[in-house]
Amino acid sequence: MFRYFSASSIAGPIFLGALAIALMPWYMLQDGFFSFTWLSGYPLDAESASLLSLLLQGQKLWLAPIGLIFLVLFAGALLPLTRRKRGELFLWISAVGLAYALGQGFIVGIQGWSFSFLSDAFGDMQDRQFGMGYGAMFCLLSLLFCFSWGLSASGRVQQDPFVTGSLALIIGVVGLFIFMPVGQMLLLAFQPQGEGAILGAVLERLFDPKIWRLQCLSGVGQCGAAWNSLGLAVAVGFLTTLLGLAFALVFTRTRTPFRPLLRSLSLLPVITPPFVIGLSVILLFGMSGLVTQLVAGWLAIEPSRWIYGFNGVLLAQLLAFTPISFMVLIGVVEGISPSMEEASQTLRATPWRTFKTVTWPLLRPGLANAFLIGFIESMADFGNPLVLGGNFNVLSTEIFFAIVGSQSDMARAAMLALVLLLFTIGAFMLQNVWLGKKRYITVNGKGDSGVHPDLPWPIKWAVIGVTLVWTVFTIVVYALIIYGSFVEIWGRDWTFTLRHYISGFGVSWTEHGLMWQGSAWSSLGTTLTISLIAAPLTAAIGLLTAWLLTRQTFVGKAAFEFGTLLSFAIPGTVIGVSYIVAFNVPPFELTGTAAILVICFVFRNMPVGVRSGIASLSQIDKSLDEASMTLRATSSRTFLRITLPLIKPAILSALVYSFVRSMTAISAVIFLVSAQHNMATSYIIGRVENNEYGIAVAYAVVLIVIMLAAILSFQLLTRGRNIGRRGMAPSDTTLTSGVP
């Protein structure tokens, strides 16, 4: 029976389609699918009826063509046609079906016709429809698979249905959930202002002085947000690269004893919500900060708000992103074959000359790569500028204020997002086009045996010194976070207390059983649930994409590759805003639901799965796939029985890292939370804005502990996992870099 529904047969998609139109509710349900309250009115109630039931009752008749299309497809599946002819039939009919199903969703909306020219032409429509629900979604999916099956069966493409189906799925979801929303949002930037001309409005928004003014250079006033973001990102990129290089050199080229400490430091950005560092910086240097008060006491300098603004954000971002740069550069530094430096030594070069003429030039591309990573991370960072920015406006926070501020101006937000996108995509293109594929360096490079020579001693002592200072600083920052959760009021009342933990996470026994009293449980529960749901979906989509990219060739592969990689470069703020724009109205009415959060996480974290998959798959010899093919296995069988079992470590790491990244996400989440579904990070930010630092920090500590537990159990599970191949777990750098 299962074989009948294998990925190469048409039975699967048809069955799915039948299920979708006959049984599943077509429209979105008020209380959500999984509350099951809709079952009471099923199957006749218009809100929860399936397509078939609606049509049979004579309602929503514009959906009738979809039913007809499926009839034709059923007939096509049963008639005795040649495979080729059946393929052609399916190809064209499903294409029409898809176009119509999507089109009717956009044309008929909440108030009847969605476009005024249609109501002008046809008169007002008396009926209306809500957003698409599971029935409609599965129907679209089924049509998509019928279309891709048709492409394969008709012989128009070489690949078998599993490959075309996977491609169609990935292109469909990435298009729907990344490119469509971003595109819709960017279009907003080109809206006219009131009754005026479009071009004028666009230019006015684009060249808004708040974005581009340069007054800060003359010492008076502020600069525009774009220059601020750019300056900050350049500074962060430059400094994190230098610091990361120092760390990498200490780790690989010296024999200092605290190297294991450095390795664990590299875990930190993975498990810390990005703005928590900003919080800790406030605890150190803010108005009531520890250092501020000490300095005020010793040197009688008045506490001031000097940390708020460029300085604070720079410091916080340096602390947060240096470990990422460190991990990227470790790969680069270790990737330099020792034999080259040994050759230089045998040619009479001093350590200094070797470093200058051999090591440094080989490091340069890696350094450029690390710079760009730091640049993009800084550009996209939202939490730290929000917490520490003060009057220093950067693009990501400006976007936020344009939407949630008193003057909600979506067009302005869209224009700001466009500018931000230009920066990040520009840097991303530089990284990919100019530097090429060097970013997928794995740590376990195939080094020839050889020993790295010592660094020239001025450099050696410089990097050790810098590293030591920075390590101590980082440790202090994290220690403060923990300490801060246990003090009554930071800066004024230093008594030890568990009050913050209790108010956030208190639990008590009542006669009704366990009661979760703490205010934080609701958001923590939501965050955990959503992250756990999103993680396997992320891993699945990411690994499927990685498999398509590494193992299959097809027409338009370069474009596909570029498209999926491009989604890496879109900052979370931009995604958050575009989701609000695109998914607020039918046909995809998702705002305020848990689904939009899950979808947001899946596509924000897809890079994790893709990179993990690519790194792992490139270590598996292609001849294994080919052997499977010559043994009569189709692509789906090869993928399921040969490829997947061999990349188990990659699957696990994709799961764990996407879980962790979902838990710590803030920049997109802040736009998508609702009263019903609040997330931990946005809750914490809310507390910070109310100056309730105690509970904010306590919550941050709890989050860090949860994620530390997740990562450590993952590392324990994969230790010693060896399927008899040389390959080990993929490099950590591929999993943590990427916009927050």
Partner: protein, 362 residues
């Protein structure tokens, strides 16, 4: 184990096959037409980059030909992917699935068909006995030696009873002594089962030892094809002569004469009775094992002999390999080890019998 073979038909036919990796780039395989006979072991032989592996992969269905036709068992399979062709392949790296045991590897190909589980197990057991793997069924690939892994790869490819079995340089990962043993095992298996095998290698000794037919490829085209003996004794071009065995390639000139052809090379001249198709300058291949070497003695030289200086003599156990510098170039001579053999630096007489000469086309 039963294998129905229609012997004598052409099992695989290639018609004007061309492979270009991208339009405008030089062809990896340039208009090759070949027939592979059923029940025979045919070797594709040539240096790296000559197109032999590409051709093999096109037969397997792992690459698609840019133009031309491929027929297997009379059926046009040119556009079919590997999954749907009735061939199986033994890879250079064996490509054993590392997460499956030996018997799971072997049964993998049978699981797709409509056989019942007991039948599958029977066939797997039979093939494991045939290849000497009975005791190793539950081991993982990384627990086997290179030779054992190779046998598993062969068993896995054989058990699905393909029409054609392809080998892609299967011995290159084995050490020299093992190679000899394993290549003979492959040949014995092929002959006892009457399999059609297409074998790719760059090692000419291997090709000579086990093939029914050898196809020599050079630069994306077929240089010569024939039985091992034909290729060794009658190479047609300099390339083939140089590649198979270590023939001496010497410039010569063909002159028409009363009885046929006279070949002149420096002080040597030979009367050959066979006809030739052209006169003029060309090359000839001289078998080093058939040249005789004597210390120089005073006296007239026959037209088949000339003098030279022995510059190097290497002792190789059962023979001496000598390099003699003569008027027409350096000549490699293999001469048996005798007590009064000439030594390096001495003047020698080199005698070339006419049967040691092959005229080359170029």
């Amino acid at each position: 184990m039963s294998l129905n073979r229609k012997s004598g038909d052409a099992a695989v036919v290639l018609k004007q096959i061309v492979k270009q990796y991208s339009p405008g780039s030089p062809a990896a395989v340039d208009n090759i037409s070949l027939q592979f006979d059923s029940g025979c072991l045919t070797t594709l032989l040539g240096p790296s980059g000559c197109g032999k592996t590409t051709t093999l992969r096109m037969i397997a269905g792992l690459e698609m030909a840019t133009s031309g036709q491929i027929l297997i068992g009379g059926v046009d399979v040119t556009r079919l992917p590997a999954t749907q062709r009735d061939v199986s392949m033994v890879f250079q790296s064996y490509a054993l699935f590392p997460h499956m045991r030996v018997f799971e590897n072997i049964r993998y190909g049978l699981e797709v068909g409509s056989l019942k589980a007991e039948e599958i197990d029977e066939r797997v057991d039979a093939i494991m006995r045939m290849t000497g793997l009975e005791a190793l069924g539950s081991r993982y690939p990384h627990e086997l030696s290179g030779g054992q892994q190779q046998r598993v790869a062969v068993a896995r490819a054989l058990v699905i009873e393909p029409q054609v079995l392809l080998f892609d340089e299967p011995l290159s990962n084995l050490d020299a002594k093992l190679r000899r043993k394993v290549r003979q095992e492959i040949r014995d298996l092929q002959q006892s089962l009457g399999l059609t095998v297409i074998y790719v290698t760059h090692d000419q000794e291997e090709a000579l030892a086990i093939s029914d037919t050898i196809v020599v490829l050079n630069n994306a085209v077929v240089a010569q094809l024939g039985s091992p003996r034909e290729l060794y004794e009658k190479p047609r071009t300099q390339f083939v002569a140089d590649f198979i065995g270590e023939a001496n390639i010497l410039p010569c000139e063909r002159v028409a004469s009363a009885h046929g052809v006279k070949v002149v090379a420096g002080p040597l001249s030979f009367e050959l009775s066979e006809g030739i198709d052209r006169v003029g300058k060309g090359h000839m291949a001289v078998n080093p094992g058939k040249i005789s070497l004597q210390p120089h003695q005073e006296g007239a030289l026959s037209p088949h002999a000339m003098t030279g200086m022995l510059s190097k003599a290497s002792y190789l156990g059962d023979h001496l390999e000598c390099v003699v510098e003569t008027a027409i170039g350096e000549i490699l001579v293999r001469t048996p080890v005798v007590s009064d053999a000439p030594f390096a630096g001495s003047v020698v007489t080199v005698t070339i019998p006419p049967e040691a000469i092959v005229l080359l086309d170029d």
